[in-house]
Symmetry: none
Subunit: 215 residues, 4 copies
DNA sequence: CATGAATGAGAATTCATTCAT
DNA sequence: TATGAATGAATTCTCATTCAT
């Protein structure tokens, strides 16, 4: 079966090549401006070849979508070493923002862009699945918050609400930036606003939260 | 001049019909998938007819874009009667969320969709203008925050940062919903999350904020 | 019948207004870039109005076509005072070139542009008529040549051939210029070439012609 | 490599098929009335297919344009064997007329039709190039004339003027015919006029020219 | 007489996708 | 496995022309 395995390996590599190239192009030129042809040209294969590895364009996008979540989850792991849950929560937010701003097209795909509808419909049966991967990250956040609760914070708040609130907060920050609603401010000030907002969150939504309860 | 006026009225109504239809279709099929043809079919006119009322596709989108901001500003006026600035700020957020969720297509266009680039480029001279209309609403928020500051809140925070933070927060909430990243939760729970998040914001970012300073 | 006459007069004036405007626009922007709408806008009438005065676009063009020939004929009359037929022939050529270069769009329409086919087909019965107006000018040239012959020139040449040759010569000059096949030379040199060519013609095709015979 | 070669051959043939068809249609319907659709229909392919062989409509026209000049140059080579420069000049004219009348669509494109502007603009850098190919033929004519001068003709005439004059002369002849300004005369007489005009030119512009100087 | 409103037909071009080889 | 060739179905947009008023 050595041959079979090699074949499979090659297949995977080809898929990876296509996905990476697609992502690179999306990043360079924006999503709507990329065609299958562009991707094919870049990897120096014919457009038809791509169809040997992916059913259609949607499948490529859908796969990237999943990959994005894998990557995000990997980034989330990085904060595990931080022991203090409140500190970790702050780092969590910081990390999320970095992930988004460093991988804007992934982020766009994962949290902003309207999902590739056809594909999703086909997947209806496995619809739960569709969100599994996103839920995993959300649950990870909830865990973090639960630990903060044990440490005395968010005492009167539903864990889901707290998680959603924090998520919305950072998502708001990065999605306004990615979708260019902050361009008036200029790059420099945007950096300040991001930093300022994270600090604001730390003081008011995290730290202050606990102090209040301690009294 | 009755005739002339009637004609003008009819013209306006036709424009409105086109705009409304466009909006409806945007809502149904998503922005990128709408074509002039679709709109024409829906209103049972020929595609060419639309060009009698709008220069091109961009103009339709641009007009909707502006209309959205006008409408938002009108909503913002509604909270002016609320005297207490902190209370007003809370209402501000609540109103923003309602505006977004009740006019998701407008909101999408205003704050999520990638901007119609050509039109913007043509408008280069009036480029400032492009954001004026958005800035007006942002300034309105800043005013509210300044008054909160006078009332003792946000004392150590830059007004811009505070405004951006609050904006990001509510934008995060609504854009996750509009772009269907909360569908797993189900409608009912989404309502709870929104309500919960607004309360969370009120306690931590607004009220708590001022208490701290008072001590 | 005063009223009827006035009406007719007004009708004529309107036709003239349309024709003049059309021509002006053709001159400004070139033939293929003008639409009925452009013309209508310029005269501040609706496009539909034009159809009250002309059956269709072709009729406008066809009429201008005829007008061009009327104008050319008028220019031709100007050389009648020149008594010496050879001198007159030279002036004839010179005049033709001026007419063409000063009214390039008329000239284009009359001698270069493919005729408006539909209109011509309709006119088939009167097809002779189609060329009448052009023939008149050609005959005028032939007369001039006949007189030159009487004065001893073109002795061995068929009058038609001579006329055609001279016509072709000047037409060649102006049509190469009008259709921009001389742009490489630059404006200044074009002027020299035209002047030089006319002189060359005078010496070789006219004067020299007679001298030869005189010997 | 037999396969590869065959493929290339087929590609070339397809290009040729498209070009030929385009030319045929141009001839039938006139230049401005040809669309890619027409061409596609004629060759029974889809419009999209044409885009596999040519970037756009302009490229087709531009290619035909160049091809025309190549062909003309080839025709010009045919007269080289004629040793006597005056005789050769006459043959030159004769050949030019034949080229034009036997390839009226090419000729039209090369010397009558308004140039495909977009394409030319794109080619700005190589703008000189645009006329190179035409200049080559014009220079070829000038060489011929210079030799005639050495043989005693055109003594008092600038070589450029002489070349332009002769060019204009034959261009006048053929362009009046191609653009149907001689149809009144009927085919038979047109042939006579052409022949007559060429003779007229030979006697007056070439031969007579030299005699004069000899005296 | 004049026109506002409407449109059918058609233009160039693009792109995801298919299929025979 | 890979692809060259082909295309159907779109897209935006333009224009001469018609017709009810």
């Amino acid at each position: 079966m050595g041959i079979k395995e090699r074949k499979e390996l090659e297949k995977k590599e080809m898929r990876k090549l296509i996905l990476d190239t697609a992502m690179k192009l999306f990043l360079e030129k924006g999503f709507e401006n990329i065609t299958l042809r562009n991707i094919a040209e870049k990897i120096e294969y014919s457009p038809a070849t791509i169809y040997l590895y992916f059913k259609d364009k949607d499948e490529i996008i859908y796969t990237l979508h999943r990959e994005g979540f894998e990557e995000l989850y990997r980034w989330q792991q990085k904060i595990l070493p931080v022991k203090d849950p409140l500190e970790r929560l702050y780092r969590h937010a910081e990390m999320y923002v970095s992930f988004a701003l460093e991988n804007p097209e992934y982020y766009d795909l994962m949290f902003i862009k309207r999902a590739p509808i056809n594909r999703i419909k086909e997947m209806k049966l496995k619809d739960g699945m569709r969100w599994d991967i996103g839920m995993r990250s959300f649950d990870f956040l909830k865990e973090n918050i639960k630990e903060c609760m044990k440490a005395g914070a968010f005492r009167n708040t539903d864990v889901c609400v707290a998680a959603f609130s924090l998520w919305a907060y950072v998502h708001g920050i990065v999605s306004l930036i990615i979708r260019e609603r902050c361009d008036v401010f200029g790059e420099e000030q945007i950096r300040c606003l991001v930093k300022g907002s994270l600090d604001f969150m730390q003081q008011n939504m995290i730290v202050n939260n606990i102090k209040k309860e301690e009294q």
